[in-house]
């Protein structure tokens, strides 16, 4: 251990650690607590306190918050209760998602229920469709004129 790290620890300055799984930083050691920051893979933080399944950490910007231990885990396994037979290995992405809350990946798994996948495909057409860019500025101006003057740009109501 480097002398400066030892000094930091002796002074109660915490232990540096590198994030292995992207995670959110929370205001309390609770899954649904308010999010105060984000951690990406490879980012360094200072571990201030170990609290069961959580760490209290200090970020580079001096922000203090709570991070699940999964952020620093090397490998993960999926609990057998979720699968028939042997539990397959979960990817690091899955591990990361577990601490990110609702996400694209969680939604993708959610629509595995019967009927939902087709419904989401119909919805996706709206997400990517004509509305995707919001209200066109020219049209917005035209409609505002129509509301106030009773005529569209071309003069036709």
């Amino acid at each position: 251990m480097q002398l400066w790290m030892l000094t930091l620890l002796l002074l109660g300055g915490g232990n540096p650690a590198v994030v292995k799984n992207p995670s959110r930083v929370l205001a309390e050691p609770k899954f649904w607590a308010r999010r105060v920051g984000e951690l990406n893979r490879g980012q360094s933080v200072t571990l201030l306190e170990s609290m069961g399944t959580w760490y209290r950490v200090r970020l580079a910007n001096q922000q203090v918050g709570y991070v699940p231990r999964s952020a620093f885990a090397n490998a993960v396994a999926v609990p057998a209760a979720h699968f028939e037979g042997a539990a397959p290995q979960a990817s690091e992405t899955q591990a990361a998602n577990a601490s990110r809350g609702f996400s694209k990946e969680a939604h993708a798994a959610d629509i595995g229920k019967p009927g939902l996948k087709k419904a989401d495909e119909l919805l996706a057409a709206y997400v990517a469709g004509p509305a995707a860019a919001g209200l066109d500025a020219a049209l917005a101006k035209d409609m505002a004129g129509f509301i106030k003057k009773g005529k569209l740009g071309g003069g036709q109501p």
């Binding site: 050691p29 899954f31 649904w32 607590a33 308010r34 999010r35 069961g52 399944t53 959580w54 699940p68 999964s70 885990a73 993960v76 396994a77 999926v78 609990p79 979720h82 979960a90 899955q94 591990a95 998602n97 577990a98 601490s99 990110r100 809350g101 609702f102 996400s103 990946e105 969680a106 939604h107 798994a109 959610d110 629509i111 229920k113 009927g115 939902l116 087709k118 419904a119 989401d120 119909l122 919805l123 057409a125 709206y126 997400v127 469709g129 004509p130 509305a131 995707a132 919001g134 209200l135 049209l139 917005a140 409609m143 505002a144 129509f146 509301i147 106030k148 003057k149 009773g150 109501p157």
Partner: protein
């Protein structure tokens, strides 16, 4: 149980009529019922925080469920987004969304900031939600039951039979502004926070446990609990919305804010009230809304008092007749026949005679 809820809703609505100065004072009966009557403090509720990303994916999961319900009845229920009716509804809806943004108030409650519009009553002293991460989507579906849902993340679903009951573009804009107000005021998120706080049951605790649990021997961290949680709460909100809606007071609040959005765009501030007068005697509308909304005439009265008190645009704003005409043309182009049949009170009859519309179809 349902009868009790309906009774509670009617009692609450009745109180709103008697104490119109602040219709939001009544308790949130339907939410209280959904949460086992446990009421959490604001501090407790704020432990359950949702980012715009959480909100988007959560709202999308709820929207999936509602759409799946419609397509079960009719596989072709969803209008293609580039169909004329869907495009028109989207244009008017995006204007309502733009108006909502112009009226954004990020102050109050836990924000610690001053309210931008301190005179506008709120059910919960909460800032407006951040704008939907990927904008608003107005999804039009074919269904004989009139209905509309403003979901977290900016997903707004409405049936063509509801659109057909509007009498003008101003009234359609009113319907859409009301739904946008549900989103901007965060009603869906508030309901979920209240349910989660009151029923922090074993599944939620399991999520919390597993998310934090990386004991050296078995590192139990996976997507399963998060998906279960998303699944469960999306089920719960979609069920609650189709059964009880957001609750009486949130409906009044959405009317009040939607009316302000309408006035901002230059539409008649009475757009929502005019629509409610039109459908007050409509049995299909009453049946669809009775479990989730206050009676239409009470809502209309509350809006009319608000329009007078806030000195908003008069009930009949200039050029409304042209907007009625444009609405009818858009409906015909979109294959939706305006439903202006029987039940309308002659005093609030549409500006364009129904007979003319019928012949145009």
């Amino acid at each position: 149980m349902r009868r009790a809820l309906l009774l509670a809703a009617l009692v609450s609505a009745g109180c709103a009529q008697l104490q119109m100065k602040n219709p939001f004072d009544q308790a949130q009966k339907s939410i209280a019922a959904a949460t086992g009557n446990k009421e959490c403090t604001r501090a407790e509720l704020e432990k359950y925080a949702y980012s715009p990303d959480d909100e988007y994916w959560f709202g999308r999961s709820v929207a999936d469920r509602l759409i799946a319900g419609f397509t079960q009845q009719n596989p072709d229920a969803v209008y293609p987004p580039d169909s004329p009716a869907a495009v028109y509804v989207n244009e008017v809806g995006q204007l309502a969304a733009e108006a909502a943004e112009r009226n954004r108030d990020d102050g109050g409650g836990p924000s610690g900031a001053a309210r931008r519009f301190p005179g506008w009553a709120r059910v919960d002293d909460m800032p407006d939600r951040p704008p939907p991460e990927f904008g608003y989507r107005f999804i039009l579906v074919r269904n004989p039951a009139p209905g509309a849902w403003g979901l977290p993340g900016g997903f707004i679903i409405l049936t063509d039979s509801l659109v057909a009951r509007a009498g003008s573009e101003d009234q359609l804009a009113g319907i859409l502004a009301h739904e946008v107000a549900h989103v901007q005021r965060g009603h869906g998120i508030e309901v979920i926070k209240k349910v989660m706080c009151a029923q922090e049951d074993s599944a939620v605790k399991e999520v919390a446990k597993q998310a934090g649990d990386t004991a050296a021997s078995v590192k139990i961290v996976d997507l399963g609990p998060v998906v279960e949680s998303l699944n469960k709460f999306a089920d719960r909100l979609s069920d609650a919305l189709t059964d009880k809606g957001y609750g009486i007071n949130y409906e009044y609040e959405a009317d009040a804010y939607g009316t302000r959005y309408l006035a901002t765009e230059g539409y008649s501030a009475a757009g929502i009230a005019d629509f409610l007068h039109r459908v007050d005697a409509d049995p299909a509308f009453s049946t669809a809304m009775s479990k989730s909304h206050p009676p239409a005439h009470l809502r209309a009265e509350a809006i009319e008092k608000q329009v007078a008190a806030e000195k908003l645009e008069p009930a009949r704003s200039p050029h409304e007749r042209e907007r009625v005409s444009r609405f009818v043309k858009a409906m015909i182009a979109g294959g939706i026949r305006p439903d202006w049949s029987p039940k309308t009170d002659p005093a609030t009859a549409p500006l364009v005679p129904p007979a003319k519309t019928a012949s145009a179809n």
